[in-house]
């Protein structure tokens, strides 16, 4: 199997800078080469948010820092950041340069921590992992170095949960997805620490992480490390829902699981789910005849070139609720081996009647070649990234861009999770299909 990557769809360990940018009024401080921040921002994200992109403080490591070490330089940039940038939390992240040279950033940052400044440090040298993995490392570091220190009281608050779902900016629809997950969990009676984005209360919310009664991980694998860490640290149990719930069936299933684990009041939960399902299916029912009778061709099979959480989530929804059949599925998020079997198993039982074939590969260029050579009898849908434009055209498929790089869409608050997300999926697929007719 090839180890190189054509058409990358994720970033390096330092890519977790975008997770910091996604925390309200938080700013990353990079101790890295001069181009790292910009390159990450080019793949992950459209626009710089509050203090990302060109605002991110950076030591811009040069030959001097490589030869003589960059600790003094880091210290001066941290001092400057506190004066110049108006933020609630500062997170020092290292790049390859610092990690290979071996700067002691713990000591430098430690001096500021001793003064009780809101600052955290993490070694995220690009080569260490990718941004799925380092998202966990960075969140855990904030919990250990900031939350634990500043949260006034660690006693449990009933019905308060922490949610670890979409990885900000790596999931281009993270804002919309997290908003919907928060909405539905509140709907069944929970208080929700969503932690990232506009619907979070920023660092005040982070400080209540230890108070949560439960942690909810909505992800195939990335984020699980945070929940395990919190279980060890604060004894908080967690629920692992291993894919993004899209549409009524899976979202209701998700909420039922949460309700069961947290022992929520049955009536309230059922009432909410019933209301949501009613609304969801009313839209489907209202337009079912249109969908059934549209006679000029809609996609019958779909390929995904996505991360594991999206791949499973979309497959369940498209097959079970829209009747679009999975062709071969490709997972391109460098899923660690230990999680691959359970993901395979999800595809093995993707519906009561059907199994789907799945392949793990980080080399999406090779994946494209496989799809091109796949035998097809009918119109296909590709759920992928901007790289798939020509492929879609070549095989006469419709393309819905779900993964980075996005390039051909501008995303504000669109999301595909939950009840609302499921409806949006249908709108967006038909939007692309209908747009192909003259």
């Amino acid at each position: 199997m090839s180890k190189f990557i054509e058409q990358p769809r994720y970033s390096c360990a330092l890519g977790a800078q975008q997770s910091i940018v996604a925390i309200k009024r938080a700013v990353p401080i990079l101790h890295s080469g001069p181009g790292c921040g910009t390159k990450i921002n080019r793949l992950l994200g459209q626009g710089e948010g509050y203090a990302g992109g060109s605002t991110v403080p950076c030591t811009n490591a040069s030959e001097t820092e490589i030869v003589f070490g960059g600790e003094e330089r880091l210290k001066s940039v941290i001092e400057g950041a506190f004066k110049v940038i108006d933020a609630d939390l500062y997170v020092v992240l290292t790049g390859c340069t610092s990690d290979i040279v071996g700067d002691d950033i713990g000591q430098i940052t430690g001096e500021f921590q001793t003064e009780n400044k809101p600052i955290v440090y993490v070694e995220t040298g690009g080569f260490k992992s990718n941004n799925y993995v380092s998202h966990e490392t960075v969140v855990n570091a904030i919990i250990d170095q900031y939350v634990d220190k500043f949260s006034p009281d660690k006693s449990k608050i009933k019905r308060l949960v922490n949610v670890f779902a979409s990885i900000p900016y790596q999931d281009p629809y993270w804002i919309g997805n997290l908003e919907e997950i928060k909405r539905i969990l509140e709907g069944i009676g929970l208080s929700v620490n969503i932690l990232f984005g506009e619907k979070s209360d920023g660092i005040n919310e982070w400080k209540t992480i230890p108070n949560a009664e439960y942690n909810i991980v909505v992800s195939a694998w990335a984020g699980l490390g945070i929940a395990k860490h919190l279980e060890n640290k604060y004894g908080t149990p967690y629920l692992h829902f291993p894919y993004l719930p899209i549409g009524a069936a899976e979202t209701s299933k998700f909420l039922h699981q949460v309700a069961k684990n947290l022992n929520l009041e049955h009536h309230r939960v059922e009432y909410f789910i019933k209301q949501e399902e009613k609304r969801f299916y009313s839209h489907i029912e209202r337009t079912a005849d249109f969908m059934l009778e549209f006679r000029y061709g809609i996609p019958r099979r779909f390929y995904t070139i996505l991360d594991a959480s999206y791949a499973v989530g979309f497959s369940k929804y498209l097959l079970n609720e829209l009747g679009i059949i999975p062709a071969k599925q490709f997972i391109v998020d460098d899923t660690p081996e230990e999680f691959q079997d359970s993901i395979r198993n999800e595809f093995q039982h993707i519906s009561e009647l059907r199994a789907a074939e799945v392949e793990f590969s980080i080399d999406a260029g090779a994946v494209q070649a496989k799809i091109k050579n796949d035998e097809r009898k009918n119109r296909a849908l590709i759920l992928g990234s901007a790289w798939e434009r020509d492929l879609a055209k070549e095989i006469g498929a419709d393309l819905l861009i779900i993964s980075v790089p996005v390039a051909y869409r501008l995303i504000l608050n669109c999301g595909y999770a939950g009840y609302n997300g499921g409806l949006r999926v249908i709108e967006d697929i038909y939007d692309r299909v209908l747009d192909t007719y003259r």
Binding site: I5, A61, I100
Partner: protein
Amino acid sequence: MSTINLKETEVPVREVRLGSITGFEGTADELVRCSQAGTLKDSTRNFSQCMGCSSGNAFCQLSMIQDAAIINHGPVGCAGDFFTFNFTYRVGQMERNLPAVNGRYFNTNIEEKDTIFGAVEKLESTIRGVYERVKPNAILITTSCASGIIGDDVESVASSLSEELGIPVVACFCEGFKSKIWTTGFDAAYHSIVRKLVKPPKQKTNKVNIVNFWGSHIFDDLLRPLGFEPEYIVPFSTVKQLEHISEAVATIQICPTLGTYLGAALEQVYGVPEIKSPPAYGIAGTDTWLRELGKVLDREKEIEEVIIKEHIRVLPKIKEYQKQLKGKTAYLTAGAAHGHALIALLRELGLEVQGAAIFHHDPIYDNGDPASDALAHDVNTYGDIKNYNVCNKQAYELVNILNKVRPDIMIARHGGMTLWGAKLGIPTLLIGDEQFGFGYQGILNYAERILETLDNKEFVINLAKHSTMPYTKWWLEQSPFSFLRSDLDVKIY
């Protein structure tokens, strides 16, 4: 003058080769005098923000060679800009009626264990794999901080694989940490092209090299009637085309910040004369540039006719624009030579340039000719520019300045800067195509866009009303250069 040495695998960085700097506070005139006296010193900042790096700029020039494949030898994050350039590449395909294709870009995915054992084998197997998959006419390798620090011998790998595969496999050394001036990446790309792709000339042709990004083909109408064929390089060239650029009769720079090294290399190594006047922006600048072109191409009479004809056409129009723009103030942020060019344009149109934040300064170019100094041309033609600041995309300095200066319009030439004008309610203009402002017509083009921008304030006024500012109140009240440790040695003659 820097001597081009193609035996060296790497081109020295601009700081060393040209004495270029990234920090300065003063007036344009002071900067020009220091540069010419050889007394320019750099300043450093105690606080800094993300910039850009050489590897991105090298990739920018290599990634649109139509039949080459690019391997970025680094951790996967270094490949974050792949699609940005692929998007540009594809827009350019549309404009040139080329079929839609994706650029063939690969990353070797350097991981932790590779930083201990080296990633040379990974690079070798990637090169073989890429050759199998793409069958390109050349493979170009861009390096990274990681590959540089762990000391991978990329040059040897490239040489031996070149022999094995029978196509040029070329190393381009562009580690981000090596230079604070990201345009050093252009030099790195051109060094590898001239070293390994360009062949010695067999015969002279009627082609004129135009070192550019992916701009519009404005030189067709100028050169073809004179009997010459423009050769737009490097984006959208083929490997074969690049092999023959040594046979051209001249090289034109649309921006010496971009092409300084390539222009000088082709002249020094293969005798292709470089047009050394600052690029043609503003009336005086365009007159001078055209006259030098006429001389080099031996078309002086024809060029004089062009100048007369164009003056008759554009001068009255410019007068009209000057009336409309009288009293308007502008602030500019841009790369070096193009920034100088835009200053000329703005002042030609009668705008008051209140200041400029220019990304770096090259006191001299690789050709060693003081006549190429575009900033000196600005000062001599239009007078001094107060508040001339050399600032490598440090948004905090820019915000501070804009907040105090409050110009009628901000002109930016790179991403990541426009937001700060807009958040303060200042109409902001960014034009991507460098050729848009070139020559006589360019003055009119810009004038029209400036008027449009000044007229269209609704978006920025509304945005300013609803915006937050990530900079502290304290900072906005300080001098913008509080973090600049200036040891500039200014000798006034």
